[in-house]
Symmetry: C2
Subunit: 354 residues, 2 copies
């Protein structure tokens, strides 16, 4: 689909956000819109015109679909009637900015559309390793992009891991989780992950090298399940889901354990968040629980990139993507995150030709 659009016209196509969402998002909360070819006007001074190649579907985008609540989030809500924005991989096709040349490949914030006119290339990173280096460009939505840095700093900076410690990762087969598990294994930890299907559990054990894994949907009693997988207790919990999972984990943590609060995806579609009841364990077990966001750690990107590209080349880390083909598929790919439809990092491929 994307192929045809590109070759036959310069019309833009966009995924537009319709209106604020309450509860679970639906495909119909977004719509495809074709605009005039006027998009091909050159950018203003300091701006860029991008041709988008890959778009990233990320759970935090659900927060941007809610009506804005002052001080409640660190990202702005989408504007009803406007194009959805998010991370993506793009090529510069026109530039009036001295740092960017036509042909440059970049990753960062772009629009859910075929072409994006950026008034200023804020937070855009030039891509150093490309197909020429055997690095798929789509990786900059995942392992070499925002989720990759999230996994890296979340594990290494927030969890204070030590060799031999036990690590539990929830939503473990996803964009972030599969990497946390692999970083933890490289560090010499004992790692167990949970995910929502049998297929994902197999991947965790057989592809990503987790020591063990389980399907949380098949466990009546999460506290007992964790006790089974961690008879000696959990030293580190990488929190991706929240709610009752966190309560079960708190009961299974070891003294001086650490919890990195990366995400609470089980809560994002609830109008009132579940209560967490076992915080008294924070005291009895002297737990450190710490929230973090990837943008705070952006300065670590260069060292992270070199390290992880090296790991990829040496086959020390693998990465799994789930690719939806065509801009039209983006809305369903995005909402699929909240039912666990994605197996690995959810990417939308807009064009195959780069």
């Amino acid at each position: 689909m994307a192929e045809e659009n590109k070759s036959k016209s310069t019309n833009n196509k966009q995924i537009v956000f319709k209106d604020y969402v309450v509860g679970y998002p639906k495909e119909t909360d977004m719509e495809l819109r074709s605009s005039e070819p006027s998009i091909m006007v050159p950018p203003e001074e300091g701006g860029l015109l991008l041709k988008n190649l890959y778009l990233s579907c990320d759970p935090y985008m659900r927060g941007r679909m809610s009506k804005p609540i002052p001080n409640a989030s660190y990202v702005n809500s989408f504007v009803p009637g406007s194009v959805i924005t998010g991370y993506g991989v793009s090529q510069v096709i026109d530039s009036r900015h001295p740092d960017f040349q036509v042909g440059d490949l970049v990753w960062g914030f772009t629009g859910w559309e075929l072409f994006t006119l950026l008034p200023t290339p804020l937070g855009l990173t030039k891509i150093k390793y490309t197909n020429d280096h055997n690095i798929p460009l789509s990786y900059y939505t995942g392992i070499l992009g925002m989720p990759g840095l999230t996994a890296y700093v979340g594990f290494h900076e927030i969890c204070s891991p030590k060799k031999g410690e036990t690590v539990y990762v929830s939503a473990a087969s996803g964009a972030v989780g599969q990497l946390v598990g692999q970083f933890a294994k490289l560090m010499g930890c004992y790692v167990v992950g949970s995910a929502g299907t049998k297929e994902k559990v197999e991947l965790l054990k057989n592809k990503f090298g987790f020591d063990d894994a389980f399907n949380y949907k098949e466990e009546q009693d999460l506290t007992a399940a964790l006790k089974r997988f961690f008879p000696q207790g959990i030293d580190i919990y990488f929190e991706n889901v929240g709610g009752r999972m966190l309560d079960a984990v708190l009961l299974n943590m070891n003294v001086h354990g650490r919890i990195a609060v990366c995400g609470l995806i089980s809560q994002y579609n609830l109008t009132e968040h579940d209560g967490v009841h076992n915080l008294f364990c924070m005291i009895t077990k002297r737990i450190r629980m710490q929230g973090f966001v990837e943008p705070d750690h952006k300065h670590m990107y260069p060292q992270f990139l070199e390290l992880v590209v090296q790991y990829i080349r040496e086959g020390k880390i693998v990465y799994m993507e789930d690719t939806a083909e065509g801009l039209e598929e983006a809305p369903s790919a995005l909402i699929g995150l909240f039912s666990g439809r994605n197996v690995g990092k959810q990417v939308v491929c807009i064009r195959h030709d780069e």
Copy 2:
């Protein structure tokens, strides 16, 4: 009362724990028992006989009244039918331990009774500064004992405070809270405390030097109250109470704020703990929340003692106690903690003559 007992006979009197408690503890969960004078037998090799002077009423003792749950706490439950144990100040009246002489004043774990036979003086600390140095012995149940070290390490080690930061303390007029506020003021922070009566609020402002204070029982909306007292947000929260207070605090925390989880007294008498709903703020505000217990930091006691004794002498810190007279009063003093009857550190004076 205590006076008479001591001088007229060597009978022991004890407060005995009757049976495990569910919900709020009552005076009748404990009872006074007189034992044979046989207590005056000399200690075995390595042991001590203590004459108890002051007993400490501490909120954690509620946990010891519950039926034991494996791995749920770091302290053991009381044994039904046995004497209650806790922190206290005592004098050695017989010793078969080389480190202790008759006449020594000590603080640490003892029994809720007139005389205590200790098989081994585990965790007992010899008192260095006494009435001769203008330091009341009762202070070793509070400012110079376990609550004092709790306040000191909880604030300085767990909260990572910086001059100029905003600090909120709950249960602020109590044994721990009044000190946290004063340590924070000495560090140059802006400090607000909450407590449950008008009298306590006045003390916070006029005696302990808090910048501001409020009665949480008079606030319909704790989130709005905290917004009023911290228009610029809270950098540090010293958590003594938990439950809905924590939820309100989370909404008012600043980015990179820290929460020291010292206690959750509002939850100790509930059969199911309240749910905390606003943990998503941990991520958006990159909060670090950390539980701690005083015994982990015992090695800091000597430096803490010198510093705080100096502060007391220079009048830089004041301390308020609420003293119940006589062993018989201990049960009601203890349960009073959970209705906020105590104004300052709750002590039980057993004897006045030391």
